[in-house]
Each structure stands twice: as structure tokens, then as C-alpha cells.
Symmetry: C2
Subunit: 220 residues, 2 copies
Amino acid sequence: METSEKHRPPAMSAIIRLADKRDVPHIHRLIHQMAVFERLTHLFSATESSLAATLFPSSSPSPPFRSFTVLILELSPSPSPDLNPSFTPIVREVDLKSPISDPDAEAFASAGGGDGVVVGFVLCFPNYSSFLAKPGLYIEDIFVREPYRRRGLGRMLLSAVAQQAARMDFGRVEWCVLDWNVNAIKFYEEMGADVLQEWRICRLTGDNLEAYATYDRHHG
Amino acid sequence: METSEKHRPPAMSAIIRLADKRDVPHIHRLIHQMAVFERLTHLFSATESSLAATLFPSSSPSPPFRSFTVLILELSPSPSPDLNPSFTPIVREVDLKSPISDPDAEAFASAGGGDGVVVGFVLCFPNYSSFLAKPGLYIEDIFVREPYRRRGLGRMLLSAVAQQAARMDFGRVEWCVLDWNVNAIKFYEEMGADVLQEWRICRLTGDNLEAYATYDRHHG
């Protein structure tokens, strides 16, 4: 027994925990990797300081899931207990099956210390359904770094948000997907989601939004 | 002069003001009318009490536009000053051109008193762009009652939200439109919005969401 066990890859735990300000450099890098994957780097202008100011404001912090909320997914051979009282971390043994080659492992060493490495994240916030008269959770980002995909970790992140919404008696979890991302669509449908085909997103931004700052003066 | 003026329709003001708990019965009726228009009454389950509890919680009220926020649009020949200090009402003289026949005028008499009649509303809340590292405003509902359409009132409601977002240095205003609603799409594009063709909304709700409440136990 002992002889055969020492040839196995080390046991690993996947941990989903609430992010804090120390995670900002990793969050910044993860969002940039996501922009590359989505072919949308021309829209990327986040900086570490703008992320810190908007995601972790020192004034008026809200309870998690009542405003912008980031969950961090990390892998660790020795998970340490997280003492944040507002979200109990989700810890799960994972079987990585094969060793993972991660060239960015050092850059993504967990801010929480120990041997953890950050492998993904989810950013969500409350939305509202007036038909249901209930809040929901909207997932703005869900992302697992490339070397760690196809191992059930994206499923674990999405399930954590769904579980939270169900426990809070929220009515829906919603997010968006690019229509060419057929793998993602298949995955989401397997998770129980409907893909709404009739709705389109409208966006007012940049100069077209700025123009409304003086709306009163021009039309009032 | 006096002789000709007395034949004109009375001067009317359109007022956009922050909703409060007294507006709940009107908000409920407006949301139901919207569900009828969108052919989605099968999804409608809001009640006055569920709306009151979720839109106007007595505990932890947030400043407007930092959580779920409803603006009411009313018409009045004699607008009275609204003393709510957190949102200065937008008041604008409107030329209705022709008299309006409104069978529901009595049911929609303003909760604020006076001669006002509620003709529409907008429900919005903050969302977040991680690419911009900025909050935005998401418009869940924007609605003008049927007799009052095609008079610039929808434009006034959308502009009020855009103005608020621009003033708060938010990055975007976003909302959804049904792809068959070509009049709305044309109107939104004229307002400066882009309609994103590639994105689809994913929704996890009902039993499929409930199933995640016990996720830990089944998969942990």
C-alpha cells in the first residue's frame, strides 16, 4: 500500500473563498486573461487601483452577495482554515488525474499564504426580477485559468454561486455567453441553465453616455 | 391673447421622482402591464407585498442607484416640490399635442397627492464591468403606459438614468430588448446605444436552481 501511494500525485483540495483586497493583483491578471480569451482586449482598461477602489471600497462595505462580490478558487495540498465570518469556504478534494504544468504558478501564489495557487474566480452581484419580485445573482465573470480547465472546476464555481442564490431564496442566477462559444453553452445547459435566444443586450457607453451628463441643460 | 389661450390644452409638467413605499400599488400594476405587453404573463408572480419587501426594505436602505432603485414618471398640471433629499426630481414642460384619453387615470392617481397621474417608471440597479473596473447602471424595466406613448416620455426616462450614470462616473448603462421589438431597437439606437448581437443571456431558475441548495451534500 505505502509503496504504491507514493507514486500518486499529491492529494489536492480546491477551495472557494471570499476575495479581499490582497487578491487584487491576481484578480487583475485573471480579468486580463479573460479579455484575451474573449478577444476583447480593446475593451480592457482596468488597473489594480481602480479594481481595488470599486470592488473593495473602504467606506460602506456590504455583506457578500449584496453588492459586487468576488470569489477566489485556489488549489492547495494543505488548505488552511479561512476565518472570514461572512462566507464559509467551500472545500473539495479534487482528482487532477494528470500532473499540471502551470508556467504562471509563481505569479498566482495565493495571497492567503500556504501552498495555494489561484486558478480561477467568479465576480457576481445582485440583480432583480420585477416579475418575481425577488433579487437574483448576476455573474459578470466566471473564469478558470487554461492549465486547469476540463477538471470540473468551472462547475464548482458556478455551483457555489447557484448554491448561494438558492440559500438566500433568490429567484435566478443569470450570466451571458458569446454565441460562438459552443463549449460554454453546452456546459451551461448541462448545469440546468436556459439560453435565452430572443433577448439582446443594449449598451450606452463612452462618449454617447457622457453626452447625457448635461441632459437637463440641453433639454430641460 | 387671453381668448386664444383658453382653448389650448392645459400646460402639463412631466416629473421624474424617486419612488417610495406608497408607490407600490402603482408599481405592481405597471409591471403587470409590462408583462402583458411582452407576452410574458406566465412569468409574472410579483405581489404588492413581495415588491414592498424587496424594493423598499425597512432594514438597510441604500442610497439611490446603489441598490434596486425605482423612478416614477408622472404628469401633473401643478407639480409640487418633492422634498426627498437624495434625488432632485427632473421636471419638464411637455406639449401633449392632443388630449389624452386615459381609462386608468383614477387607478394611477399619484401617491404624492395633487393632480398627478403616474404614467410610467424605470427600475434600475448597479452592475459592474470588470474590463472598465467601474460600476454601471442596469435597467431592468422601462415602461410608459399605452395612452402616453410616442410623446418623448420614454426618452425622458432613459435620459434620466443615463444622466445619473454619467454624473456618478459610471461606465455604462445597459438593458435588454426583445429581438422582435424593432420599434424599441430603433429608439434605443437613436439614443446612442449599441445592440450587442453576439451575447446571449443564460438563466438558471426554478427547480433547476433549487437543486443547488444542497450542492455541498451531494458533491462535497
